[in-house]
């Protein structure tokens, strides 16, 4: 990376980490919220409906906010079969093509994800389970997650390192 871009890249990396931290906090909060829900029910106090639904919606947030970080950490599982049986140079080409393909798929999903959210906003849609929460607040996590996941895939298209190691087996 050229020097003028460096602060930008650092800020971006920091954001990916920050989103993962948010996801981690959500994971931890899930335990507390479910415990609270038990406590309220057993003491015959009323838990608001959104408490339960917030756990369900949190699962999607947790996933979408942590998958870009996991891609940077090479934490997604993949199989090395073809990439393990070809010469190094070919492997580099295939690996970068795979990463590019993944980036394209993420880009398409980001595009339609935005469409999906726009539809939710336009129709003021809420989920049947949670009339108090506009669905756009939750579905917005889809384009965010896929958009950043796509950018993380680009790392393995243009970056120094590639995704595949060349060792046969299934990797993460």
């Amino acid at each position: 990376m050229s020097a003028p871009l460096a602060p930008l890249v650092r800020a971006y990396d920091w954001m990916i980490t920050a989103l993962a931290v948010v996801a981690g906090i959500m994971l931890f909060l899930t335990a507390l919220v479910v415990a609270l829900q038990i406590l309220l029910r057993e003491t015959a106090l009323q838990a608001p409906d959104w408490l339960f639904t917030s756990v369900e919606f949190g699962l999607l947030y947790m996933t979408m906010f942590s998958v870009p970080w996991l891609m940077r950490e090479r934490g997604h599982i993949y199989i090395e079969l073809l990439t393990a049986s070809v010469p190094d140079a070919t492997r580099h080409v295939i690996s970068r093509c795979v990463a590019a393909g993944a980036a394209v798929v993420c880009a398409i999903l980001t595009w339609y994800g935005i469409d999906f959210v726009a539809g939710d906003i336009a129709t003021a849609k809420y989920d049947w389970r949670a009339p108090d929460i506009p669905r756009a607040w939750v579905s917005i996590s889809l384009p965010i997650g896929f958009g950043l996941l796509g950018i993380e895939c680009l790392r393995y298209v243009f970056g120094r390192e590639i995704l595949h190691s060349g060792e046969i087996g299934i990797h993460e």
């Binding site: 029910r41 015959a44 106090l45 009323q46 838990a47 409906d49 339960f52 639904t53 129709t123 003021a124 849609k125 809420y126 989920d127 049947w128 389970r129 949670a130 009339p131 669905r135």
Partner: protein, 314 residues
């Protein structure tokens, strides 16, 4: 040339309501031979349950059989069916369903073909004998009730129950262990889930009713030949009536079977019963009014409530 409509149903195939829809499909396919055909692609395993109404709006699937509750944020007027004192055939005869269809066409881009399986209300079922207050209203203090967005406002507001959200396939275990002490359910079906092992009281009267219907993508509907449209509409109207009658019969036999299995009817006094049912309707109508106001459609509120006899009565 035979015109083909793809279809999905909201609930698993074996459920009584899905079976009723498949009967409707068979009738259409028989009546419409050579003209129109419905091709069922499955239930929630093909398109997710709450996603089906949007799929028919987008034209991914041509026909969907679903409760109106699953698209309440688009058509809050579905609460008319929930709170209505009339059934499908009556609403058809009075022209109420015609208005309901127009609401769907205008605001959702779908044709409302028919209100199927109507006339099936809900009851609250409890494990222990219910207590009542001095006025005869059920006293649910300290009682844990399994809730559902359709009636949560009423349960929490009027009945002051502690409401818990439990997925339906975890209710068996929840009742077995007393995680919840009561659950509302329709007048039919609790024995399919085997909940009758634990639930020993059924509070009478019933409240609300189901809002299951068939919706068709409007563009697809308009592209059909008049002959195909007529067959679909006629069969739907006939099925509104026959499914209502069949389910009334099933309801009677299930009430008898419930009694045989030791589920006692717990009757509220006449006065308390009216207050109980009216409070449920009022909660639904208040919710509907708020949502209609947000959409700028509240002008029709009074007319609709009147048409569907959805207001409280003494």
């Amino acid at each position: 040339d035979e015109e083909v409509l793809t279809a999905v149903h909201a609930f698993p195939k074996n459920l009584v309501y899905s079976q009723s829809f498949l009967e409707f499909v068979d009738k259409v396919n028989k009546e419409g031979e050579g003209v129109v055909k419905i091709e069922v692609r499955g239930g929630p395993e093909a398109i997710a349950m709450f996603e089906q109404p949007q799929a028919v709006q987008r034209g991914v699937v041509d026909m969907v059989y679903t409760p109106g509750s699953f698209y309440t944020s688009t058509i809050p007027e579905k609460d008319l069916l929930v709170a209505s004192s009339i059934n499908g055939p009556e609403a058809r005869a009075s022209g109420a369903l015609e208005i309901y269809d127009q609401i769907h066409q205008k605001n959702m881009g779908v044709k409302y073909l028919g209100w199927m399986d109507s006339g099936i209300p809900f009851h609250i079922y409890t494990i222990d004998e219910p207590k009542v207050t001095a006025e005869g209203k059920p006293d649910f203090s300290g009682l844990k009730m399994r809730g559902n967005p359709i009636y949560n406002e009423w349960l929490k507001g009027y009945l002051e129950a502690t409401v818990a959200t439990i997925p339906s396939n975890e209710v068996y275990t929840a009742l077995e262990r007393g995680t919840v002490d009561a659950t509302p359910w329709t007048s039919i079906g609790i024995m399919d889930w085997n909940w009758d092992k634990f639930l020993k009281y059924r509070i009478d009267p019933a409240f609300f009713s189901t809002d299951l219907g068939v919706i068709v993508n409007l563009e697809k509907w308009n592209s059909l030949s008049p002959q195909a449209q007529k067959i679909l509409q006629d069969v739907a109207i006939a099925h509104e009536k026959s499914s209502f009658e069949a389910l009334q019969e099933q309801q009677n036999s299930e009430y008898a079977e419930q009694e045989k299995r030791g589920i006692k009817s717990f009757k509220l006094s006449e006065e308390a019963a009216a207050a109980y049912v009216n409070a449920a309707k009022a909660a639904a109508m208040e919710r509907m009014k708020t949502d209609m106001e947000a959409k700028g459609r509240a002008g029709d509120f009074d007319m609709l409530v009147e048409k569907f006899k959805a207001g409280g009565q003494s």
